[in-house]
Amino acid sequence: MSDRRGEFWQGVRLSVPVVVASAPFAILFGALAVDNGFSVAEATLMSASIYGGASQLVGIELFGQHVAPWLVVLSIFAVNFRHVLYSAAVGKRIDHWPFLKQAIGYFFLVDPQYAEAERKGENGEEVTFAWYMGMALPIYVFWVAESALGALFGRLIPNPHAIGLDFLLPIYFLGLVMSFRKRPRWLPIVVASAVASMIAYKTVGSPWHVSIGALAGVLFAAAMPIRPEEPVTSDETAEVVS
């Protein structure tokens, strides 16, 4: 029992830097969600149910542009698609848990959670449910609470333009793009997506530039000559919930 408690607190300790680093983004998400037409309750629900910073910010950005609902959902799915790879990798480490605990565990599988679970597993240590939830719960609780706080605060901002609120998301998304730069063929993929999305934006129009640009980059990557396999690595986004 005390062993399990020790594991739990070991996990809590690992959550601290993630809680600190993700706080500004949770608050930013709440403020922007309200700015884009969400209620405080909706913004909070989105953080509590999706629990993926980058995809939530993509979602409200597209929602604000009045993109068709199914395309907003598809974009959220696309941004979170990397979790499929985390899930496949982490599955080996936690498949001794009872089914319900696994089902709960996968809900909390954000980038830093994956990174720490992999590191623990690679060190030959057992990834226990107590340790896993010790890390996951503080990150989750703070993420949801700070989103609500940001949403409440967002309604009090008199002039969003003056503090750059409308252009903070492109800067943040650029940061995420840069965080993937260690992946194979990152630069040509980014160039292909950028060019295709800009052309589509001018010709077909928004919101199709998102799907068309993304497809261009993905097809380009799939069409290139195959290189030797590289293991799944969590990207530098591991420092925030994304």
């Binding site: 989105m46 003056a162 750059g164 650029l174 997506s193």
Partner: protein, 98 residues
């Protein structure tokens, strides 16, 4: 049910499927085709780029300067530092050049 609520719930289900799906589906295959894997690997950068490029295309000097500074800073430091640097440049330049 409102559209917003529908988007949130569908988005949450889609996200949960990505988190449990890799274990349920991908790990059942002996190996993924390398081309599929290369395509999957490209998804996040490809999607996120489409949210930056058109915004940059229609941006003014303050916004472009902010993106430029943020990109350079990101080569050396983490996401948080680059974000704050970009935001600071944006707010300062908007203040001075309007």
């Amino acid at each position: 049910m409102s559209t917003t609520l529908w988007i949130i719930i569908a988005g949450a289900v889609a996200t949960y499927l990505t988190r449990i799906g890799g274990h349920l589906v991908i790990s059942r295959f002996e190996r993924i085709h390398p081309r599929v894997e290369a395509g999957l690997n490209a998804v996040p950068a490809a999607v996120l780029t489409t949210l930056v490029a058109p915004a940059a295309m229609s941006a003014g000097p303050a916004e472009l300067a902010a993106l430029g500074v943020a990109a350079v800073v990101s080569l050396r430091s983490g996401l948080m530092t680059m974000f704050l640097a970009g935001a600071a440049v944006l707010i300062a330049l908007r203040h001075f050049i309007g």
